[in-house]
């Protein structure tokens, strides 16, 4: 059995907002295997960033976390701020959608990479600079030595994201968390950055948690994929399995809404209805009001359960979910001689 690097155990996150308590993440259990690239997808507001911020210990004060988040066996939710700070940028590093949030506008790009190295290792200024130059070259900054002192605004968005990646891999992290790292980039540059991520993963064996809303991005570089809807994890599957046989009705709806790539007339499929307001989240399956196959049991929360195919689904239509929830097989309407 492969080693687990990161484990979410029944993790929930609430925000105590003025308009009531928002249950942004509810009972998420998930294990990341060492060396894999795991994609987390779902529509805006479904809790992807909240889950990753909970892992980094970077949630705002109004947020409260329940459950356990085990990194190499130690619980991140009970660590002190200084213990977490030691991990961040070292064993765990991050890349966000907007490189501006990760880079200081007033310092040269090279020294920002060197600072990350010096913050976590006992190296001289000179050694850190040499290593930073090597990293900038590794992530594809042309003429890195000449650009070393350039402030971030002199660089294009794609180049800034490369600098952020250089800093993120500087200390050989075990886990790289990338939250929509290519969403703000052109498709051509996105393709380059995805190649770079895949390449870094291959060479350093880094485990990557990639948050994305674009199923194409996930298909290109992930090994396994988790689908979130309204704070719940509804499906987890190996990437080939998910794309060949999406099972959860929400996952299927997401696939149906893709612009199919056919230039034929006719409307694109859309998911009817709206994402529920998480300050008043419905009980049971949160997709039930938009689900075309809703059952009476959907008022109860379906457990995420693994089937023989290696895919896990949280849906009362699924035999594994039903077995895990103590329900009998679904009687199929119109079936004879069952």
């Amino acid at each position: 059995m492969s080693d687990s690097l990161l484990e979410f155990r029944k993790v929930s996150v609430d925000y105590a907002g003025r308009g009531g308590t928002v249950s942004a993440v509810t009972d998420v259990s998930l294990t990341l295997i060492e060396g894999e690239t795991f994609g987390l997808v779902g529509e805006s507001g479904c809790g992807k960033t909240t889950l990753s911020m909970a892992l980094m210990g970077l949630l705002p004060d109004i947020a409260s976390v329940r459950g356990r988040i085990l990194f190499n066996g130690s619980d991140l939710t009970t660590m002190t701020e200084s213990q977490l700070r030691e991990l961040r940028g070292d064993r765990i590093s991050m890349v966000f959608q907007d490189p501006a949030t990760s880079l200081d506008p007033t310092f040269g790009i090279g020294s920002q990479v060197a600072d990350t190295i010096r913050a976590h290792g006992d190296v001289s200024r000179k050694q850190a600079k040499d290593r930073a130059l090597g990293l900038l070259a590794e992530v594809g900054i042309p003429a890195a030595a000449e650009r070393y002192a350039d402030p971030p605004h002199r660089l294009s968005g794609g180049m800034r994201q490369r600098v952020v990646l250089a800093a993120a891999i500087a200390n050989n992290p075990a886990l790289l968390l990338a939250d929509e790292p290519t969403t703000a980039l052109d498709v051509t540059i996105q393709a380059q950055i995805l190649d770079l991520l895949a390449d870094l993963q291959r060479r350093h064996g880094t485990t990557i948690l990639l948050i994305a809303h674009d199923l194409g991005v996930v298909a290109q570089i992930c090994d396994r994929v988790g689908v979130m809807y309204a704070g719940q994890l509804v499906e987890v599957a190996p990437v080939a399995e998910l794309f060949a046989r999406p099972r959860h009705p929400y996952t299927r709806a997401l696939f149906d809404a893709l612009p199919s790539g056919s230039h034929q007339a006719g409307a694109l499929r859309v998911i009817a209805g709206q994402v529920p307001d998480l300050a008043h989240a419905p009980t049971g399956c949160r997709f039930k009001d938009r689900c075309p196959s809703r059952l009476a049991e959907c008022d109860e929360t379906p457990p995420l359960a693994m089937s023989d195919s290696g895919a896990s689904i949280a849906c009362w239509l699924d035999p594994a979910t039903r077995a895990a929830g103590g329900l009998g097989p679904l009687a199929i309407a119109g079936e004879s001689n069952g």
Partner: protein, 342 residues
């Protein structure tokens, strides 16, 4: 660019150039940003034309020239046969009503202090159309047209989702019954599922109102469904144009091919197999010599760094400006059964 089929086009752009003088930095006064460098483009009545290219290729600048937000440095823009690029105020005033912009980020184009009812009513107030009751009725009609439930009318933009905000922006753009919408990346900031809703809405409005649309996008995947024709822009120039099926199934320009290849396919069995476009779009202050694409072009030949390629015509609609594509067409006529590309 090729003409829309039949009749005088609604919008005709000819040789439009837009240069921004450089006001800051070491190049101050010395040079200019060549944002748009001689663009021809036409949009027919009720037609959807998409303009695509990487960021910095000049799409928004061209869109702003067309909506009259900025003045082109050179070239002519005719709307419904009347020149609007330089001409009299009267012609422009009427033109302004008939061409409306829609922007990428509804949050920045909507006034955060106003209830959406007021935002949609604003153009009617500005042009003094109808009395109070008529305007209120028209706002309800517009909200209905774009699929906004009436009970949202008193909400502020911050109380709406991104998709709903974009519907408000579209409703306000439709208030004066324009003939043409110039939509600059109207779905780029939205979720995939919401993108589909807005694309459907635009297609539906075109059907119902006979509205023409110039749809600006940096992502080819969203335009395939909605467009009649496509123009691909690179560093201030249109490098390829044609019907949507010509451009998608038989792209002739290497840049178009690279843009199509860069779309991440939602299919894990087809990974990274395609060629990557190296490097980034160069600065429009000193565009490369010859073909502007040559430093990044995977198939460039000697002549590409010297001569600016002219448009080659492949069909009544389909054109591309590329030396290699032109040469391949020439040899293609001798070898009719060969495929055009590599």
């Amino acid at each position: 660019m090729a003409e829309p089929t039949g009749g005088r086009p609604l919008l005709q752009v000819e040789g439009v150039v837009k240069r921004f003088p450089i006001r800051r930095g070491v190049l101050r006064g010395a040079g200019a940003v060549h944002a748009v460098e001689g663009v021809d483009l036409a949009v027919g009545r009720g037609e959807v034309v998409s303009l695509v290219g990487e960021s910095g290729s000049g799409k928004s600048t061209l869109g702003k020239c067309i909506t009259g937000m900025i003045r082109p440095t050179a070239g002519r823009i005719h709307f419904d046969g009347v020149e609007v690029s330089g001409s009299s105020r009267g012609a422009r005033g009427n033109f302004r009503r008939r061409v409306q912009p829609v922007f990428q980020d509804p949050r920045s184009s909507l006034d955060p202090r106003w209830a959406i009812e007021r935002t949609i009513r604003e153009p009617l107030d500005a042009f003094r159309i109808g009395n109070k009751a008529a305007r209120a009725a028209r706002v309800r009609e517009l909200m209905d047209l774009v699929g906004l439930p009436a009970h949202l009318s008193q909400r502020k933009p911050s109380e709406l989702s991104g998709g709903q905000q974009q519907r408000v922006a579209i409703a306000a753009a439709l208030a004066l019954e324009p003939d043409l919408l110039v939509a600059d990346e109207p779905v780029s900031a939205l979720d995939v599922s919401v993108q589909a809703q807005i694309l459907n809405l635009l297609a539906d409005l075109r059907q119902r109102l006979g509205l023409a649309l110039l749809f600006i996008a940096h992502d080819l995947s969203v335009i395939e469904h909605i467009s009649d024709r496509v123009a691909v822009m690179y560093l201030g120039r249109i490098v390829e144009s044609g019907t949507v099926s010509e451009v998608f199934t038989d792209p002739r320009h290497p840049y178009t091919r690279a843009l199509i290849d860069a779309i991440p396919r939602p299919d894990p069995t087809q990974r990274m197999s395609r060629t990557r476009l190296i490097g980034e779009i160069p600065s429009p202050v000193n565009p490369p010599s010859g073909c502007r694409f040559h430093p990044r072009c995977p198939v460039a030949i000697g002549v590409c760094s010297q001569d600016d390629p002219q448009q080659t015509t492949f069909s009544s609609q389909h054109r591309a400006a590329c030396h290699v594509a032109a040469a391949q067409t020439a040899s293609l006529s001798e070898l009719p059964h060969e495929r055009a590309w590599l």
